[in-house]
């Protein structure tokens, strides 16, 4: 199979380029894209990419495959290759450090900005805080985020305003804490988000939803935050 991989080494390359590599795939086995990258790396150790769990839970290997963001480790080649060709590029919109490795700094900064931790100053006593299964269920579809950045780097609003628009991933996490019945900082959280950019730059394009490897729905979470901001204003 022909694999076209984005290459850039800041020490030796004046500019990035696409490298075409012929990879022979084992027959009768549908490899994951990460397996293919590993095969290439066995021959050319200079190819750089991140990987860890290889089962879709650590979020290391978000890349762009034939135009769509996803995790290399749980994306079968057959699912993305078109006309027998696999094209692998770094996640779009972030500075490239080397090859498929991007600088996630601004992405993490937006995550930190929403204060991604439970805030509750009421003494909890010697046991857990109680939460009904119904209230706990409100966190489903939110807490599972793996911070792979597939969503935010597929979002045109984030491409334009990565410093000001929190982005789908950060907002999903913001709502995860807004929705948690154990959190007491709802008002402060909303006040922090109440400006024209942080939330309202979302235009409902829903690229985030179509690429999320965990099947999460940031657009829906953003909708809930908008509702909360609007009812707070009235």
């Amino acid at each position: 199979m022909l694999v076209s991989v984005y290459r850039y080494n800041p020490e030796t390359d004046r500019e990035p380029y696409m490298q075409d590599v012929e990879v022979s795939l084992p027959e009768g086995k549908d490899l994951m894209v990460l397996d293919v990258l590993n095969l290439i790396k066995e021959r050319d150790q200079s190819l750089s990419y991140r990987r860890s769990c290889r089962e879709g839970v650590c979020g290391s290997d978000g890349v762009n495959m034939n135009g769509k963001n996803g995790l290399a480790c749980i994306t079968p080649v057959s699912e993305v290759a078109t006309s027998g060709k696999l094209v692998v590029r770094p996640l779009p919109g972030l500075p490239v450090i080397r090859d498929l490795v991007v600088d996630m700094g601004v992405f993490y900064k937006q995550y930190q900005r929403i204060k991604p931790y439970l805030q509750n100053s009421t003494p909890a006593g010697g046991r857990e805080r109680l939460q009904s299964p119904e209230d706990r269920a409100k966190l489903d579809g939110l807490y599972e985020c793996i911070l792979c950045a597939c969503c935010s780097t597929s979002c045109p609003s984030f491409w334009w305003n990565p410093e000001k628009f929190v982005g789908p991933s950060g907002l999903l996490q913001a709502y995860r804490f807004l929705a948690d019945t154990r959190d007491e900082a709802t008002e402060e959280r909303l006040a922090d988000l109440d400006d024209p950019f942080s939330v309202f730059r979302c235009r409902g394009i829903m690229n985030c939803v179509s690429v999320c490897p965990k099947g999460l729905n940031p657009t829906k979470a953003i909708g809930h935050i908008r509702d909360m901001l609007l009812s707070r204003a009235t």
């Binding site: 080494n9 800041p10 020490e11 030796t12 790396k41 066995e42 150790q45 200079s46 750089s48 990419y49 991140r50 990987r51 860890s52 769990c53 290889r54 089962e55 879709g56 839970v57 650590c58 979020g59 290391s60 749980i74 450090i97 080397r98 090859d99 490795v101 600088d103 996630m104 993490y108 930190q112 204060k115 991604p116 931790y117 439970l118 509750n120 909890a124 010697g126 046991r127 857990e128 805080r129 109680l130 939460q131 009904s132 299964p133 706990r136 966190l139 807490y143 599972e144 793996i146 911070l147 804490f177 948690d180 154990r182 959190d183």
Partner: protein
Amino acid sequence: MTALRKLSFDAVVIGGGGAGMRASLQMAQSGFKTACLTKVFPTRSHTVSAQGGITCAIASADPDDDWRWHMYDTVKGSDYIGDQDAIEYMCSVGPEAVFELEHMGLPFSRFENGRIYQRPFGGQSKDYGAGGQAARTCAAADRTGHALLHTLYQANLKNNTTFLNEWFAVDLVRNQDGVVVGVIAIEIETGEVVFVESKATVLATGGAGRIYASTTNAHINTGDGIGMALRAGYAVQDIEMWQFHPTGIYGAGTLVTEGCRGEGGYLINKDGERFMERYAPNAKDLAGRDVVARSMMTEILEGRGCGEQGDHVFLKLDHLGKEILHSRLPGITELSKTFAHVDPVNAPIPVVPTCHYMMGGIPTNVNGQAITQVNGKDQIIPGLYACGEAACVSVHGANRLGGNSLLDLVVFGRAAGIFIEEQLQQGIEYNQASEEDVDRAMGRLNQLDSNDNGEDTAQLKKELQSCMQNYFGVFRDGEYMKKGREELDAMRDRVANIAISDKSKAFNTARMEALELQNLFEVAEATAIAADERTESRGAHSRGDYPERDDKNWLCHSLYHPETKKLTKRDVNFKPKTVESFEPKVRTY
């Protein structure tokens, strides 16, 4: 030498998994200058893959639950070489540590009364084995590790821990007095080598499951801390004890939680027989992991395996129904579809025992202080600490119970943090490392960077992994292990002679993988020698030529000494502080 940039901290924790971040959180909370140095962004650490839960007697599923019952189970599970003072500490302090996690925001699943959901796991009992199966594993669906790791990262952000993300620790730096005063580390993005100096150095580098070809472990589980300790000449304990998880997905190796069996799933052979009823009439599919893994291998070896090759068995879940699968085991449903092309709602998952956990590691006391032995006497290694899978405190002995790894890393990450806090408050003085001290720690990296012609990392890694898989797996035998040791002997010089063709600085993963392979090799060699020399069967260590447990000679820890490559014995602690000790009994389920 070229002068290295130096960063100084009160404490540096190597590893950003559950143990490392629980330790760093503790120290950061009390205002000490704490760094968490991790080769991957913290939430990429392998704790994220833990599924089923964290076992702890919080008395939610059963209001009468008792940590002493948990202790009994853990001692029995360890096949009696877990240290009873450490197990006592873990089981009794556990509830406090778990409630703290809940207070930090961990999204545990809940019972109707609002308390934390607990499910049954293997090896759990009530009333010291007399009261039947317990349900003691606290869970966030089947994503407990993910929930726990993210919660700890968030708590560290809240408390301003300094994160050195994507930094790779190469080797320990010791001063003239033999005190560990920090590490040499590479900032991966730039390739810059830095001396990270610290009053306390905590190894929380996790396991090394990548010594085997088939493993549930992440690519990053390369035993970096164990490698560093062995190169520094420190002994490792019970390193022959490797857990093979009964249910790795056939072909892919990815984990399917024991929680599946806790929720009512069971294993079947090619005749559709629930074979665990024969091997463990009481606990059945929830016997100890070593027992279940061996039973599966026996089914396969005796011709009752499934599939064309008869080389796996099936995990049946469909009878649980769609609703239970989707609410309690959603991650498994996803993984099974992706890696086994099977929807467990309709069909069973093909599974096979797969390397999962390193029970052995750097010996420590309950305060996380690393220990070595000199002339048969325990000696604290000044400045060095370990916790989590890299450590052997030892609470798992010869076989870890499901759900006890998350408890171990939280309790002992916390304990190490608390102890170091106290030490820092009292003041820690030490002699600065000299240039020579730093140079010594740079030796391995310099050698790698200056080598132009040598061995290829990828090729050697394959040879190493297949050697370990073939000769040191679920069933072991002296004759085969000798062969394995010979192969490893022949590999040692080659591993020292790795050459990388790519010597660039920026995000050079080739350099990292070469250094990781050298760590894997250290762990593999220690495993091989210890496995060959422990002439008995106990827990996960099962030998055809020595099929019985030998309490007369081997009711003890093994200590592997890297400089002499010899194994010595170390006493197991049978002196818990508040309860009677549990005496060894025949271990049946």
